[in-house]
Amino acid sequence: MNLMNNVISQNIIRFIVLVLVQTLVLNNVNFLGYLNPYIYVLFIILFPIKNNRLLFLCLSFFLGLTIDLFLDSGGIHAAACVSIAYIRPVILKFSFGMIYEHQTIKFSSTEFGKRLSYFTILILVHHIILFSLEIFNSSKIILIVKKSLFSSIFTIVLCLLITILFSRKKR
């Protein structure tokens, strides 16, 4: 029970901290004029694997909507978040293989390559959905590809750095 509470409070704090860092700091980065990292997806990436999928979908939707509220972006973050929350089990299986079946993996103790592929796929899918909906114009497909690709690289690097930094601290 105690462990359970610990996990819940950890995720609540993570939710709030990620939303605040994202909206107040990272959205003002505007590297090269248009590149922003969207590290709030870490909440979805690191969410406990043993979960109630319905609750997980609702939480992801709520996370995306909160970001949308701050950024005045309609519902694009919510749509991208719900999508990656829905396809996460497939990608977990693809990246981690059989270990995932036992539902015992801890992200900090997995192989770097597997973790990288897991992060990359989720973040790439998230960004492609995000920018397609944001720009919403098939004649600007190059802009969509450019934005999603470069922002993804930015996000992936930051997410990996953050997970490495914070997993060291806990030991």
Binding site: D72, S73, G75, V82, I135
Partner: protein, 273 residues
Amino acid sequence: MQQILNFLIKHKTFLLFLLLFSLSLFFTIQSHGYHKSKFINSANVITGGIYEVANNFGAYIDLKKENEILLEENTRLKSILYNANQDSLKAPYLDAELSRQRFKFTPAIVTKNSYSASNNYLTINKGIRDSITQDLGVITSKGIIGIIDNTSNNYARVMSVLNTNIRVNAKLKKTDHIGSLEWNADSPEFVQLMDMPIQAPVQIGDTIVTGGRSTIFPKGIGIGIVNSFHKDATENYYEIQVNLFNDMTNIGHVYIIKNLDSFEISTLNELDE
């Protein structure tokens, strides 16, 4: 019935996903229309308050720059005041028409600004309690910023000129040829002036100002200078690339313009229809 229930239970995750996804699509599509995003906007108590607190910390860094801008504006206004035609001051009678106030200005501070998305909005710290309503113009001392599209009690959301949905009536400063100002989401420095008649004597370096045909902006507020222009697909109009006066990436203090005659003008226009 039993089968329908079984189906629902079996696919409940997928159905929930579909529901939430379509809900977010609904919000997205709504946000593309002007004045429609009532629920999801940053002019509410929570997000507006958080942005205001964060802005209080950040405001000190820009203080020096802001002071320079204010000084510049003061200098310009003083030069207008002292060089004004003295005749108007010596007029033998006071004309009520001359002294009647047409526009009311309210100062505000930008607590959130964005310019990298394709539909950008600003949040300012004035709202319904400061008698700010929808469709008021927002400017700085240099030129236009945008139009208010949503308000709460203490905050308002401004649709930036860097928004693909915005249309502002604009004209050449030297003549009265009008066009419509839009943004193609490419660069935060440039906006596009469409539908400028080909008869207009456009030259690179010309000043573009607001046209004053709508009740939102008064006539003659600066927008930018012509950077380049070419004929559009119909060959009857110019498409002009306008370099904005304002640096949209760095905006601190703004003024909100309220046209006190707007009700009168709009009721007059409705008579036609």
